[in-house]
Symmetry: none
Subunit: 431 residues, 2 copies
């Protein structure tokens, strides 16, 4: 049986939502990476009975229990005594920790250690302190029955993260022979819904999940679906099983896949394509209102491949700044193929970019017209033909449309993603 961990996060501010529990996610990743995935997480307030109960339950589910928070110097900080009680141990005041706390306070110009801080030198019997380079509360490593371990870490994220190195070191010692490496890979897709993707993946794998222990997880967002394949190492064949799974799913996801190892965002893939080829992009946005260009420029270094754009929200901006033909606007309406094309061409010429995307649509809740329900969007991708002068004719532009589901925000996000996806595909074609 593989090792499992459990997390107990402590603090009323987590329950009330005043603080988002970012430690829990960080620990989840760190523990998975260590090969001790998290089985369950408990979040409790600053109360001895709830902390004690959660730690006892966690010890039934997992070999490694990580408790964060409640190690401060105030009366509210209950983790040390509650864990001591859960393990049936007394709290001993550690003279070396008292001395370290006193040195720390003297070093910061205080004459004496506040008495409340003495609590931070208390250790459940049998436990070992893990020095905290960034704060007063040491971490604690407490061996429990049956080879289990309870680790206490401060709730301040930067202190907790700094202490985790010491935890990792001890985990590798303690559980060395039982740590199974997990082979995994996440594949990013866009343009195919989970309900269509999942049966195709299942068919492609043809039972590999049960035959070779390959786990498949789908992580859907408005912009696409991430597919995570993982195999726990058992008999030395884990890496090979993962490789087989990747081979089988590859043809299914090829038209939808993009590579974004850092961020998981399609913008990363587009930025790489543009950067490698020295191409510069511009945007012309109507219904997305600047959202696509904000997303592009959220990426540091965007100035290397992004020139800027025009938010042509009002039709007057479409005609006067982008040069869309007012007759075409009147005849076809702002949400139409020719207007999308003229917007992309217009911003290309205005900015001197190498390529451009445009988006015009009805994000709702109002604005629907006959034949164009809320969610109707046209977008276009324009490329300056190589070696031609943009002021002359050499622009090639292709448009597409869809009716996107969801509310205003969802339509805007989906519309931006669709335009970026077409840009990504056309950059691939032209590679």
């Amino acid at each position: 049986v593989s090792l499992r961990s459990a997390i107990v996060t402590v603090g009323e501010e987590l329950l009330s939502g005043a603080t988002v529990d970012s430690n829990a996610a960080w620990l989840g990743r760190a523990l998975s990476h260590l090969g001790i995935p998290v089985r369950q997480r408990f979040t409790v307030g600053d109360r001895d009975d709830r902390i004690e109960a959660a730690v006892l339950e966690a010890l039934e589910l997992a070999e490694l229990v990580v408790v964060t928070g409640g190690l401060g110097p105030t009366e509210d900080d209950r983790t040390r005594p509650a864990v001591a009680r859960a393990l049936g141990r007394p709290l001993d005041r550690d003279p070396a920790l008292v001395e370290a706390l006193e040195a720390r306070f003297r070093g910061r110009g205080h004459a004496t250690l506040p008495p409340a801080n003495l609590r931070q030198a208390d250790v459940p019997r049998g436990g070992h302190a893990l020095p905290n380079p960034r704060g007063t509360a040491p971490g604690l490593w407490i061996p429990a029955e049956g080879g289990r371990v309870v680790v206490l870490l401060p709730g301040v994220p930067r202190e907790m993260r700094a202490l985790f190195d010491a935890v990792e070191h001890r985990v590798r010692e303690q559980f060395a022979e039982r740590l199974e490496p997990v082979h995994s890979q996440t594949l990013h897709t866009t343009g195919i819904p989970e309900s269509v993707l999942a049966p195709r993946i299942e068919e492609a794998l043809g039972g590999l999940e049960t035959r070779r222990g390959v786990e498949v997880a789908y992580l859907p967002e408005l912009t696409g679906v991430d597919l995570r394949l993982s195999v726990a190492e058992r008999d030395g064949a884990g890496a090979e099983a993962l490789a087989e799974a990747l081979r089988l799913v590859e043809p299914v996801i090829r038209p939808y896949r993009f590579e974004a190892p850092e961020t998981g965002d399609l913008v990363e893939a587009v930025a790489r394509q543009l950067g490698e080829r020295g191409l510069r992009l511009a945007t012309a946005e109507s219904c997305t209102g600047g959202g696509v260009s904000a997303r592009l420029t959220a990426r540091p270094g965007a100035s290397a491949w992004f020139l800027g754009g025009v938010v042509a929200y009002d039709n007057a901006v479409k005609t006067e700044v982008l040069g869309v033909d007012p007759m075409v606007l009147e005849r076809h309406g702002a949400v139409s193929e020719p207007v999308a094309c003229q917007m992309a061409e217009g911003v290309l010429r205005q900015t001197g970019a190498d390529c451009a995307i445009s988006i015009t649509g009805i994000a709702g809740p109002g604005g629907a017209v006959e034949g164009k329900p809320v969610g109707t969007v046209w977008w276009a991708v324009a490329f300056r033909e190589l070696g031609t002068d943009v002021a002359q004719t050499g622009v090639r532009v292709r448009a597409a449309s869809a009716v996107f589901p969801g509310d205003r925000e969802a339509v805007r996000i989906r519309a931006g993603q669709a335009a970026l996806r077409d840009l990504h595909l056309q950059l691939q074609e032209r590679a």
Copy 2:
């Protein structure tokens, strides 16, 4: 005894840390606000036994148990059957839900409902569906023994939030006589940090907190600090105590306060000011890259008061599209008072708007120059003088600057908020 709630969030991606559990914090705030604070939170993977055990334990701790996640259409989605088992109820397929799902899929152009989606029409016996305006998974309200209730909500944050209105409505019905009335008001501020605001508020209240049971909470975000004053009703004097507190804090927050009862966003206040006076706004953005205009257009009906803008990320776009003087750019640099002013004037003239804001800065991590560290931002607000022709001279423009702390995202958000705050103040002055 007051009512308590418990939260169970479901999903392997939460345990592995692939996703930060933002739903849990949001629900914590919403439930506290309703008067049913959260007593404990459980996070479990997509496994029937863990979901079932967590729900049973939650029911021992709380009258209201909210479960999020695991309501999707795939085999991985285990919440419905696990909760049915925890409550000892069979799952019934609800024909009305099947019909609604079929209609939704037809509306999106699919001929038939994928069979997997039929699972989303299953309801533990005795439960009631809560329609989901933003997705296929309905919420479920399931009365349990002893007046307890289990509520199932989808894990997609925007769907969960949209469904919470229906939950709140039913909670108020179900627990009416046990909910303590709380008088409260939230005041929105921007432009003053919590560390400066809090002592001034305490001084202004002069002990009213203890004398009359007024609770003060600060909810800081990058865009400002919300101040929440609340008084639990005890002896019929709650409303009066709240009114006294509001009178006392009003002079402190007056320069920073804005009114945004629907969204809490300064954009709401600016939209109201512009809409009431029939003024139309344009934007010229460099370092914010379209983020301000995306924020403005996130508001439905923005076309009544927003014309559009130019994302002048590259200097060539500043000069060629906005008409910034290249000599001024070279002499003062892109992040400077004259360039901010010329950007705002330029977009005002280009679009024919009544007022405009511009932002130019160094969002980082790179880009710092001597005398202009990362975080340096100049912004400007321009108004067409009433009765003048914008093509001629009548533009009045004022600029300001700051060095904002934080990473790229924080600098961009703070810069946009600062420009909107100055627009808000100048619209107030001109009222």
